[in-house]
């Protein structure tokens, strides 16, 4: 999927944080918030305005786990696998979601770009373990069955995320 280059939006994001090398992370976050990933078509323009190389933008984008260079699904599900969630059985939740969505460790996004399934090291909500998030909404005390039910509701558009 290639993104049509939209210099108006990108300039708006750059201007918001300032066209300087120290704003790289904030700007990339801004782009990712808008597109749910970092379209590579934007890199030359950002590099030019910030006065950094495309290679160094790529360096930042690949360093942080949170940035994605691949398009993501409409719903991004993050199953927490931090210590607390792990011992309270987060892996069976992950396994259930993977099998229902036909995804794997390598393939994280469904072909129709509706779901992306990832793990995350800790969401800082250990008291609610095991936790998963859909986009930015937190679902506490999950079980494989509750996860299946949530997935079903998302597919039918019964819940907003």
């Amino acid at each position: 999927m290639s993104h049509k280059f939209d210099s108006y939006t990108i300039d708006e994001i750059i201007d918001e944080f300032g066209a300087q090398p120290s704003s790289v992370i904030a700007i990339l976050q801004g782009v990712q918030e808008k597109h749910r990933y970092l379209p590579k078509e934007y890199f030359p323009h950002i590099a030019k305005r910030l006065g950094v190389s495309e290679a160094s933008l790529y360096s930042v984008a690949t360093f942080y786990e949170n940035f994605s260079l691949e398009p993501k699904g409409k719903y991004v599900l993050k199953v927490c696998d931090g210590t607390a969630c792990h011992v309270r059985k987060s892996i069976p939740i992950l396994d259930r979601l993977r099998s229902e969505l036909n995804l794997s460790e390598e393939k994280c996004t469904t072909d129709d770009l509706s779901f992306t399934l990832e793990t995350v090291s800790c969401l800082g909500a250990c008291g609610l373990a095991p936790v998963l998030t859909v986009n930015d909404k937190v679902y506490p005390a999950m079980t494989p069955d509750k996860a299946s039910e949530l997935l079903k509701q998302l597919k039918e558009g019964l819940v907003d995320a």
Binding site: F43, K48, S53, E54, A55, S56, Y58, S59, F63
Partner: protein, 565 residues
């Protein structure tokens, strides 16, 4: 020792601190060969390799490269614990490194190999997890093998800080970290300009200059091929200790002799081509000034890495770049014209200090009669390799003169190999005072020295000319920024490698002192020439009524086009 306020102790010895920026500099000053991978005085401090660790008075361990010396400080550089740590680091690097040293191009020049030897690493306790070679062969100038990379980052800092090219950077993190172009593109599709300075600082064989000399042996072995060569100015002063030559010593005669012995039919001096360039570039400069100063400043066009840099990064400046071909290409065009009707196949070799010339040689802009006038470009390193392979004992060989019909060059052409040289040669040409005093006076105008940005203000008629000379592409960018802000220059000489061609990436590795001696060697060679102004080269002047008649534009000029980023 009078002033106790600037004394510190290194291994029990009192040492005076004299403005050194870091402990490492001070330690090396007192003749301790501190091991490092990631430290280069011209690059920023990275502090990653941890080889230069020292123990302070509280038994803490610090990296010498990133610690500022303090009066009263007491450090030890060689303790049981430090030796153990250094060995550990080496073992860990080797555990993940290709260990086929005999077939590695950097065999004998590799820092990892050298330090493993120094620290007596005869066994690596960890299993070897080196991956298969991961080679990027796309560039005609350099080759990158990710598997031999130790992630010291020297190449990244050279490419970004000194050259402002930004072709490579670190990518990914942790154990997956690599050095990569944006989006893992091949080097040939990156902003790389082929200057090769990354290879010059790489401590291992991870980035190497591409070698092309094997095909020259083939041409030399073929009886139906006439092989000619041209030798760039900077090559003659850089052979160095590998062949038993003192730093900066002019070995031109010996190189010519050795090439003759290898079977080259004719050997020429690229300085002859440089004389042509001086005449053409001076004409172009005066013409532009005369026509009301359009597209001024005029930028020099001898350096192929600068040309690519301009095409990729500053396409709007291309009208300001001289249309002159480089000395190598001008000379190759003339030599091509001379041979094109011959029944024997002609093969022309250019011996250069430069990796970017390999790219210049295959540029379609320079093709004549559907053929590249230069068939192969080899670097000084490759020449040394060929001499070694041939078995000829270099120290024993008697110097010989270059051949006819193109065997005449002036001192002006020779100083092209050092920053400021092109400018000095052009000034000699455009100056109306043709006396010896005038020649000497030009040298005091600020054209000499290895500083990255030099300026000269030269009287010309009733006016003055403002000239800038830059070496290192980062410096070129800094100057271009100033020009864009409105600063006026009439002529700008750009050389991509810091200090000029004498420090080209194709040259063998040398210390800072030895590099300076290379420049001195070229200026000494210039002084020994009976003709020191390009227009005094009768042979070149004759070309204008001979081989160049009505062909000046076709053979000596070109135009460049923007190459999108």
């Amino acid at each position: 020792m009078e002033n106790r306020n600037n004394i510190m102790i290194i291994d029990g010895m009192p040492v005076e601190i004299n403005g050194e920026k870091n402990l490492l500099e001070l330690i090396r000053k007192v003749n301790i060969k501190m091991p490092t991978f990631c430290y280069h005085s011209e690059l920023s401090i990275y502090g990653a390799c941890r080889m230069c660790v020292v123990e302070n008075e509280w038994d803490e361990i610090e990296a010498a490269c990133s610690t500022v010396p303090r009066a009263g400080m007491e450090i030890r550089t060689n303790t049981e614990r430090l030796r153990k740590y250094r060995k550990n680091i080496l073992e860990l690097l080797l555990a993940h490194h290709c260990r086929d040293c005999t077939t590695c191009r950097n065999n004998g020049k590799c820092k990892l190999q050298d330090l493993a030897m120094r620290f007596g690493i005869d066994d690596v306790r960890f299993p070897n997890t080196a991956a298969e070679p991961d080679i990027d062969d796309s560039s005609v100038c350099i080759t990158k093998d990710a598997n031999k990379c130790i992630l010291c980052g020297d190449c990244v800092r050279m490419c970004n800080e000194v050259q402002n090219v930004g072709a490579i950077d670190f990518a990914h993190r942790g154990s997956k970290m690599t050095i990569s172009c944006a989006f893992e593109r091949p080097i040939a599709e990156s902003p790389c300009v082929g200057c090769g300075q990354c290879a010059a600082v790489c401590p291992t064989g991870a980035i190497i200059v591409k070698y092309d000399f094997h095909k020259i042996w083939e041409a030399l072995d073929d009886k139906n091929t006439k092989v000619t060569a041209q030798i760039a100015p900077a090559v003659r002063v850089a052979l160095g200790k590998e062949l038993g030559v003192a730093p900066g010593e002019n070995a031109m005669g010996k190189i010519v002799a050795v090439l003759h012995r290898m079977g080259f039919d004719e050997v020429y001096d690229t300085s002859t081509g440089a004389d042509l360039t001086v005449l053409e570039e001076s004409n172009e400069f005066l013409k532009r000034l005369g026509e009301g100063g359009h597209d001024i400043p005029l930028f020099s066009s001898c350096c192929p890495a600068w040309i690519q840099f301009c095409e990729k990064k500053y396409p709007e400046l291309l009208p300001h770049v001289s249309t002159c071909r480089s000395p190598m290409q001008m000379f190759a065009s003339v030599i091509h014209e001379q041979h094109k009707t011959s029944s024997r196949r002609h093969y022309h070799v250019a011996i250069m200090p430069c990796t970017a010339k390999k790219f210049e040689a295959v540029r379609p802009e320079f093709a004549l009669d559907d053929k590249d006038p230069v068939d192969a470009v080899i670097t000084t390193q490759e020449l040394i390799q060929m001499i070694k392979e041939s078995g000829i004992i270099f120290s024993e060989i008697e110097p010989e003169a270059v051949d006819m019909p193109f065997g005449s060059a002036t001192g002006a052409g020779m100083i092209f190999g050092v920053t400021g040289g092109v400018t000095e040669a052009v000034l000699r040409r455009v100056s109306s005072d043709k006396s010896k005093t005038a020649l000497a006076a030009i040298t005091y105008q600020g054209v000499r020295g290895l500083e990255g940005i030099k300026e000269a203000v030269i009287p010309y008629g009733d006016e003055t000319l403002r000239i800038a000379m830059v070496s290192g592409l980062g410096n070129a960018s800094a100057l271009i920024d100033r020009i864009k802000e409105g600063e006026h220059y009439d002529f700008v000489e750009v050389m991509a490698c810091p200090g000029g061609c004498i420090n080209g990436a194709g040259q063998p590795f040398a210390s800072a002192d030895a590099k300076e001696q290379r420049g001195d060697g070229l200026y000494a060679a210039d002084k020994m020439c009976s003709t020191r102004r390009s227009e005094e080269n009768m042979l070149v002047m004759d070309m204008y009524s001979g081989v160049l008649k009505n062909r000046v534009h076709d053979l000596l000029h070109t135009h460049y086009t923007a190459r999108g980023e």
